[in-house]
Symmetry: C2
Subunit: 390 residues, 2 copies
């Protein structure tokens, strides 16, 4: 559903692309045939998307012609996870005196860049989302892209009008874009933390909360404190970075974030990945041991875990028993109703089963509620209520 018939591909195009990527022509041909390199559609048909990680190129990387050559926007590098803070941080960042700690915010990953003169918001998988693009143009100081056409903003779309991961916890009224990295086009090289701050401040771009530089020696303790405080606010966790951005970052999350993921996963138990569920549970085990919790703390943790798993499961099963369909309710806010139509087409194209309700005027914008139907869990649960065996 997310691939395009390529039809005939111009052999000259293949040759030029192979030259740009440093691949054999046959390899490029093969990538197209397998749809590992796929096209966006409609007015963004010219944008190619890596649907898999290929050699050093991240999944979600996009690529398009620019002048007589090409330009590439690298995907989001996968950030590896510390299961325990000590000794993992010391081992991973060995050689550094200090690490930088930033909040890992819980939203929708988006890259915003100027592509042949046009500002586009590109999703983690490399699609151009019409809604996110409209919001990004609304929210960001676009002079940044004129001054730095070779740079890309890597951030999170956050807030209740985010139709992918709606969250109220950040006190955002509609949606905002919080930036965590600035990277160069083509190479994907990140700017240092200092240079990133300087540029983001200049254009008044929002950035994820910055906890400063912390001595590596005491980082495990310090970060445990930060994580506990973030957890109390239901915030997700932190990303720990080399201030120069030479070594790759690590992430570490709060118990509340694990439980929140589990609440979502068990609501749609037949869709969610098994490994996704298990990994969040196992993190709780390592955290309680690393933090040397006493009996009362441990009891609180396992109760939260049990409730985070069983409550959404119970509610989903009960809803279906009562004859309701399982869906997720999300919302968008658009200036132009055309964006909503484009977004509806876009979701359909991605295979998302979504019902758009009537737009409600809100100031000079419109609010539109959307029901995303979870067909697989719905059908499975209903079949069980009708006497089907497991």
């Amino acid at each position: 559903m997310n691939t395009e018939e390529m039809g005939e591909i111009d052999p000259d195009f293949i040759t030029r692309l192979a030259g740009y990527l440093g691949f054999e022509k046959e390899k490029v041909q093969h990538l197209f045939e397998k749809n590992y390199l796929a096209r966006n559609w409609g007015k963004h048909e010219h944008m190619l998307r890596f649907d898999k990680e290929i050699s050093h190129i991240e999944h979600g990387t996009v690529l398009y012609e620019k002048g007589s050559s090409f330009e590439m926007i690298m995907g989001f590098p996968k950030i590896r996870r510390a299961m325990v803070l000590d000794p993992t941080l010391k081992k991973h960042f060995s050689g550094l005196e200090k690490v930088t700690v930033e909040e890992k915010m819980n939203g929708y990953n988006v890259r915003v860049a100027q592509v042949n003169g046009e500002i586009l918001a590109i999703t983690r998988s490399g699609y151009v989302c019409p809604y996110t693009t409209e919001r990004a143009k609304e929210k960001l100081d676009l002079r940044f892209f004129d001054d730095f056409p070779e740079l890309v903003l890597y951030g999170e779309m956050l807030g209740p009008d985010n139709p992918y991961v709606p969250k109220e916890i950040y006190g955002i009224e509609s949606v905002e874009f919080y930036i965590f990295d600035i990277r160069e086009k083509n190479s994907g090289n990140p700017l240092s933390i200092a240079r990133k701050h300087e540029i983001l401040e200049k254009y008044n771009l929002l950035q994820v909360q910055y906890f400063g530089e912390i001595l590596l020696e005491t980082a495990a303790e310090e970060i445990a404190k930060i994580i506990r405080a973030l957890g109390e606010k239901e915030h997700e966790g932190v990303v720990i970075k080399d201030p120069e951005m030479t070594l790759t970052p690590l992430k570490y999350t709060s118990s509340q974030s694990n439980c929140s993921d589990l609440r979502h996963a068990f609501k749609f138990y037949n869709e969610a990945g098994r490994d996704y569920m298990l990994s969040r549970i196992v993190r709780e085990g390592f955290q309680t041991v690393e933090w040397d919790e006493n009996e009362a703390e441990f009891k609180k943790r396992f109760m939260q875990l049990g409730e985070s798993i069983l409550n959404p499961l119970k509610e989903a099963i009960q809803s279906v028993k009562n004859g309701q369909r399982l869906y997720e309710e999300v919302r968008i806010r658009v200036r132009d109703l055309k964006t909503a139509t484009e977004f509806e087409d876009y979701l359909k194209r991605l295979g998302v089963d979504a019902i758009f309700e009537e737009p409600q005027p809100a100031g000079d914008e419109y609010l539109i509620n959307i029901k995303k139907v979870n067909k697989s869990t719905n059908d499975k649960t209903q079949a069980i209520w009708e006497g089907e065996l497991w």
Copy 2:
């Protein structure tokens, strides 16, 4: 590890076997090549084992030459699970007035049969276990096999001296064999419940607890009561059968059994199957909704769930942190020390990493403690404590 080099297979043997199974010769050849049909080893090398379900033949079925033909002992038929009792029972058993309810006991599945004059205990996968065989000969009235050489006992080995699934809950001192089905060789056809009872009583063979015949109309309610009572004793659940054994049975289990499975699975979180874990969790969701539990009952359920998951996980992670290796401690009781040696070889052959301790005399028998090492979870957990990323 559980397959044998077949070497050259006599073409005449293949032809005869194909004739017996009603398969093409090429198919039989293919089953051997793929090791879907594999040999046992040592003195049971003559016994073939279906390592996969092939056509109508269950996984674990064994097959051997008898006279100029063959004889087959069918594997354990997979019993499907009712996720909810109502309407599943009515749907599955429609046309019956009554169903039979028996306890599903939590032990190790074993078939005991006379194979060319010798009594053998055959595991679920079709191996001949030397320990189980010794115990079966010790515990069962062997006259049954002389009187009914064409019948096979399908049962559970239960008790603390069961090295596979040791359980104290049944009040068994060492091990006992509880029979749940009697089936014919070759066809695998089961005897009716009445005929089974008659034969088991005649030879004083133990049988799983019998809850009698229950009207299909009220079975869901009645079985819910039985399940609650069984759960209180930490017993597993029930199997619901057609008294004539024409329709296939269904199983349904207690919450305590789900939690007990989870406690075991999360102790060895890196070995246990993801689907195994998830299915036990999802059962809790359906049971709480079907039984329409109030807030207090629901809280008790999610606390038990949370504890059953997090406690073994914590203990395993803590043990490895303290420098201990993760193992499962089990025990066997043998009359002949040769059986212990054979069992040690047998486990090695199956790839189980087990340490046998010194035999301790116990009356005219010996008790031997065995540590089964859980290498995968052990190594993974240790690596994380050494700073490895997830």
